[in-house]
């Protein structure tokens, strides 16, 4: 498989009144064509910012972005317009991501029209095909978002995102606002579309069971830093980073006969504003030593395609 998106030492800082927010701080990974990379972490860890930075909805502060082998870190207006046709995003909140004053049909037509690939009746037909594809019934074509339920709104968001047949779609918590039964419908839809159009997904979520279901590879983030990245199966079999261990153990399991022991973390996530150097997880980590507070923590390869950002990974896991 060829690499579709390569991210190298990406940083995204926000200046604020109280200091600089290190929302994404030196993150590197590769997403291959046709695969789904899950990006997981708790609220405030910078995962949405990372997703948006990868597709130029936010401009990176530092680092390098390669898309299909080309450097897309800095784009001029024209290049950006071309790039936009290849990358898309599906948002978390299916209400606020649709213009409340546009019908579903208009929302889906807009990107087709802007692309200038279709005209007149063809435009209408293509839009209807798309709405049909994502499962929006004909009677809702001319409805406004507030007249629809969350599931259908999210379908409209999906139709808009795939309308230009992009290569790469960032799914930013696309199912966390939905109920379990609807969530499954949307997840199935996303997987079907991936097969049909050979899409590559970056699936941003805090829900580990969803990410396990849909992703082939998982990247775990904590406070702007990547702590562990591995193929899904491997990550769920064996975690090396203390944070990943705690995170996975905290998921409530529906298996009532094998309730595992949870690893309780001390305290709560700290501030991403002007953080101290070193491992961001150190203040809550059971194993933290002075070494963890040094800048430039290494990324250790512990297995094939399995990287951990922890200087004590060998000692902790008896490797």
């Amino acid at each position: 498989m060829a690499a579709l998106l390569e991210v190298e030492h990406l940083k995204k800082y926000f200046p604020t009144g109280r200091g600089t927010v290190h929302a994404v701080d030196d993150v590197s990974f590769t997403i291959n064509e046709g695969e789904t990379m899950g990006l997981v972490g708790e609220s405030g860890c910078g995962k949405s910012t990372l997703g948006r930075t990868c597709i130029h909805l936010l401009e990176s502060t530092e680092g390098k972005l390669l898309f299909q082998g080309e450097d897309v870190t800095h784009l001029n207006k024209k290049q950006l317009a071309e790039f936009r046709k290849k990358v898309q995003i599906i948002f978390q909140d299916p209400f606020s991501s649709l213009n409340p004053r546009m019908t579903i049909r208009d929302t889906v037509i807009e990107p087709l029209m802007l692309s200038r690939q279709f005209e007149g009746a063809q435009l209408e037909k293509e839009a209807e095909n798309l709405m049909d594809l994502v499962g929006i019934e004909r009677r809702f074509y001319n409805s406004y978002p507030h007249e629809l339920d969350g599931g259908r709104r999210q379908r409209a968001g999906v139709a808009r995102a795939i309308s230009l047949k992009p290569k790469f779609v960032v799914c930013d918590e696309p199912v966390s606002a939905l109920d379990v039964s609807i969530q499954a419908q949307i997840l199935n839809l996303l997987m079907d579309l991936q097969d049909e159009f050979h899409l590559t997904y970056m699936f941003v979520t805090h829900d580990l069971s969803v990410v396990r279901h849909i992703s082939s590879k998982i990247c775990v983030m904590y406070l702007g830093q990547m702590v562990e990245v591995a193929p899904t199966k491997e990550l769920f079999d064996k975690q090396y980073h203390p944070y990943t261990k705690a995170l996975l153990s905290a998921i409530p399991s529906i298996d009532i006969h094998h309730q595992q022991k949870r690893i309780m973390l001390k305290g709560e996530i700290t501030s991403p504003i002007n953080p101290k150097p070193g491992c961001r997880f150190a203040p809550r980590c059971l194993y933290a030593t002075d070494e963890c507070r040094k800048p430039d923590q290494p990324l250790v390869e512990v297995g094939p395609d399995h990287f951990v950002s922890c200087c004590r990974v060998k000692e902790i896991n008896n490797l």
Binding site: Q92, S96, R101, E110, P111, R160
Partner: protein, 287 residues
Amino acid sequence: MKSRASDKPGSLAYVGKYLLHSPSAMVGLCFLVGIMILSFLTPFIFKYGFRELNIRAQYSTPTLEHPFGCDEVGRDIMVRVLYGAKYTISIGIFATAGGGLMGVILGAIAGYRGGLVDSFIMRFLDVFQSFPAILLAIAIAAVLGPGYWKVILACGITGIPGYARMMRANILTVRGSEYIEAAKSIGCKESRVVVKHVIPNAFSPMIVSLAMGVANAGLAASSLSFLGFGVVPPTPEWGSMLSTARTYILEHPHMVIFPGLFIMLTVLSFNLVGDAIRDALDPKLRD
């Protein structure tokens, strides 16, 4: 979710349809439209003209002949009050339209451009906002002098800072929403994002304050006229009629009643319509 006939949420058609179903708004609208029509038709309906002196009827209290009585030179107060409706109503509407337009433009620029332009506009408006509304109108009127269009200008300028601030805040809210990000991600040019996505959504909440603004502008205009800074006698503007009537209040109090009553009814009508528009646009407040 029941799908009713789809009206663009927050559009004028949507608001209009809602108004038709609100009894209080209809009462207000009927009063305003009715009195406006009467105002233009007075010369054709009534026996007396609004300027017609009739010394014999001087200070006449209400009679069948003169239902509202007559003033200090025997002019029929009812005819004058009805004729004068067009001033208060049109001043309210023109002042709000003008002030609203300026405010919306300034606010939109400040909100969308941000940075220096934003600070400059907002600091400039701060100067205006260091006055209470009515006193600002008086100060402007003091500079401009009296007259119909000058009152409109004074009341219009007074409204600008408020509308600008509100529009700016709306723009900032809309600009941060996900559908704007979505519009960018599907390749909308900036101009399209602004015209198609930002402005319509930011403007919609303004309709309410503009509707309410008409009532305030009308009230302010009549206050100005009352103080002698607005429309001056012999034009039968209600505020200036009251200003004259005030001199005779001890002997002929009836002259005071009707002009004021009609100011109140007009302002009340605008408020009723404004309330209904707010309800139409903000379903949260209903139930």
